[in-house]
Amino acid sequence: MAKHDTPLLDELESGPWPSFVSDIKRQAEKNPDCWDILGQLELSYKEKITHWKHGGIVGVFGYGGGIVGRYSDLPKMFPGVEHFHTVRVNQPASKYYSTENLRGICDLWEKHGSGMTNMHGSTGDMVLLGCRTEALEPFFWDLTHGMGQDLGGSGSNLRTPANCLGQSRCEWSCYDTEETCHHLTMHYQDEIHRPAFPYKFKFKFSGCPNDCVAAIARSDVAVIGTWRDDIRIDQAAVKEYVAGNFASNGGSHADGDWGAFDIQKEVIDLCPTECMWMEGGELKIDNAECTRCMHCINVLPRALRPGAQQGASICVGAKAPILDGAQFATLIVPFMEISADNEFENLIDFIETIWDWWMEVGKNRERVGETMQRVGLPTFIKVMGIEPIPQHVREPRSNPYVFWQDEEVPGGFERDVQEFRKKHAA
């Protein structure tokens, strides 16, 4: 029986799509506190203002993240949501879990919280919505001791690392994303659970340039699988595609009437760098021009595969805020070997060089991509100890001036700035 009239929210149940309003109503039949979510949201729709207050001092002992405090500013009117804290649970690598585990998490949340979940949050965590402050420690005990799971990151912590399915399911994965994600998650437990930085920091692991976790769009360090030799071609399979014997795109779009497969129109003409052509019935690729867009490999998966010398490109500085200008990551290292044999030493060294610099130079609430933008790419790559390469160049330069440091010029040069300023005021 509904506790509040919600005519505006009820409209959201009238379409053909699934409705979160219906979901909350269903949960409210089990947990009457959930009626107050709908009541407060209806009021917010009417008044066009939020009635949530977020933040505060909620948490579990020893942790400085994983829980986002949330309160109603109308607790007398909506007592069921007086406290409505969010808990982030670190998802398993690649989001592999059993239905038994999911049932366990849901049962735990019905015991301690509202029973409402969000699978998954943008960062990848299992997000459990709504519980009171006094329920946090008992929940945390059950989660860690009963389920063997842990909280994820929030606030100025390292956020929960995320990865694609990687080599567990995907033949294109150029390194073991699951092992890398697991190793770094364990290596940086302190940074995940306790605030460490001027602002949030994320890293994500995609096995190939298809980038199924959208690392390049959202993470401060995106580790994206790539290869440095040539795309492997099976010319016999190319012929089968051309003859129409193999379904293009692995049959993904087979339900539409697209006509006969046309390799010129559907592959070669769509190559962004125009580095492919047919010659004597064979597909040719000028691999030096390939930008790893993956289109040809996606369309002809039985004929084309990533090269055999595999590793990852490292891009730095993405962010995806809602209000203030999303930004893709910038390529910093075109190729890095990613190997468990040396416990991912080169990747860890790279990440910690960024941290040491950003913690000192970054402003409060400034993502590392914004710090890079503020100081400029030349300064950033110098800090990282990386030589400039053509791949760092986004576009032809528009500034005609070239500035040299004395160590960059044979013989160097000396200049007394104070003497200069006597004649030329700043």
Binding site: K53, H54, G55, G56, I57, V58, G59, G62, G64, G65, I67, V68, G69, R70, Y71, H83, T133, S154, G155, S156, N157, D190, R194, P195, A196, F197, P198, Y199, K200, W355, D356, M359, E360, K363, N364, R365
Partner: protein
């Protein structure tokens, strides 16, 4: 020369007591000892949280540090000690 651990602890606590605003960013503590690396100062601040001298205050997206007796709890108490 960098401060000793005890000196750094005392400097951080002093800063947290006297800062105009009760909540401080981790960077605010860097000034306690410019010769100590930021990660070492972060580790010391987190140790002080474990010892009860400081506490975390989170906005959800950013985490700050505060003295427990200077912070107002959303649940209505003045100070949480």
């Amino acid at each position: 020369m960098a401060l000793s651990d005890d000196e750094l602890k005392a400097a951080i606590i002093e800063k947290a007591k006297k800062a105009p605003k009760p909540q401080l960013y981790i960077k605010d503590f860097y000034k306690c000892d410019p010769d100590t690396k930021p990660r070492a100062i972060k580790n010391m601040a987190n140790l002080l949280v474990r010892e009860g001298e400081l506490m975390f205050w989170s906005s959800g997206s950013t985490t700050m540090y505060a003295r427990p007796d200077r912070i107002k709890n959303e649940e209505g108490d003045e100070g949480v000690n």
